[in-house]
């Protein structure tokens, strides 16, 4: 190798070593090592819901038979809160939420009809 390439190699690896250590330090610092909160679950004949660490999992057990099924959070007042997302066919759906929620309500958005509601 030429002198320039040797210097470039040396600079690259010193940089990678420093950046790697800084990256690992700050990443590990941001990780949450607290024990995870136990998940809360509930279910009815159509859906099963569970929540842990600000993540809501909705398992659709039988088809909701509507063209638009929007999942809303139920807030601490028991009212319809933020929209979390949509569900459709049978399957597992996961949504993130930043606020504490009491449950979920699934709404036919076109007819504005509550299809099902579940609290934790």
């Amino acid at each position: 190798m030429t002198l320039g390439l040797r210097k470039a190699h040396k600079f690259s690896w010193v940089l990678i070593a420093i950046a790697g250590i800084v990256f690992l330090f700050f990443t590990i610092q941001q990780l949450n090592f607290q024990p995870q909160e136990s998940s809360k679950t509930n279910e009815n004949e159509q859906i099963k819901i569970s929540m842990s660490n600000h993540q809501v999992e909705v398992i659709v057990k039988s088809s909701l038979k509507t063209s638009s099924s929007v999942v809303y959070a139920v807030n601490s007042n028991g009212e319809r809160g933020e929209a979390l997302g949509q569900v459709g066919a049978v399957g597992i759906y996961t949504f993130n939420t930043s606020n504490p929620i009491q449950g979920i309500v699934i709404v036919d958005q076109i007819k504005d009809v509550e299809l099902t509601k579940l609290n934790f």
Partner: protein
Amino acid sequence: MGLDYKYIIWNKYKKSYDKIIALGMILYIVLFAAITLVFNSETSTETLVIRSFGSLAIVMLHIILIIGPLSRLNNRFLPILYNRRHLGVSMFIAALVHGGFSLFQFHALGNENPFYSLFTSNMQYDSLSNFPFQVLGFLALLILFVMASTSHDFFLGNLSAKVWKRLHMMVYLAYALLIGHVFLGNFQQETSLFTIGFMLLGFIAITGLHIVAAFQESKTDNTKLEETEGWLKVCEVDEIEEDRAKIFTVGNERVAVFKYDGKLSAIHNVCKHQGGPLGEGKIIDGCITCPWHGYQYLPGNGQSPPPFTEKVATYELKLEGSTVYINPEAFEEGTEVKPVNC
């Protein structure tokens, strides 16, 4: 060498190495699948493919990156360096299988364009621990693609050794991206202490060896030769092994002084092919042979034997008693210089 274009120049050593690479890859995949199915029989085929090929690519990348400094520190590793490019292309194929299956499994089954989905499904670009790690893997895969597709000597010849080498140093950036990809993926998904431990040890070994080798090289670069009336004192003639060389820094250039058949000759230490250290090679069939890929030069004039056309600069030597001196002014590449009898 530089005579004409051939798709791949095969020889029995390359074929043997390639067989070892292929068998090693197959063995790894089979073992990975068997161990996974024993400990987690519910693993889907897609997940198995993604994880086995992803981890294979990471292991291969570690081997590739560790070959360079190991060869600098101990020339017994040079034979592995000889076939590093094929290992690199094989690693890219493993990474492509991992990336392709991941893109399909996680981003191609929805309504969005999978590439759009890759960049937008997780928008936490302002978080370090929740950063979208798949994006880092995708960027690394793009770099590996550029490297694999330009790995042939055709591109080396057309881009020049300097540009090609700098282009292929992007593997370091790919490695940095993959560290982020694997660590963040591990932290965000299921935490595997084995994976984190492997990556940490690999990171320490690779960066440590590269830095040790780089500082050793700097030491050689900074060693100044004693000057006497325009000549630099190199060493005692007995310090050079027969058919081998000693390497010295003359100005900003490295020069290799070879001893062979009772004679001494000096040439520029940098091979025209990929910048290999000619002084770490030996004289085979009367030619200085580069330890990296076997390119050859005649010691008396720095020219590759006909019909090849590569040539390197030559230097004038003189012997006073048993002490070797070199004229620091290089001759034009390929200039005939009468060897010094010793």
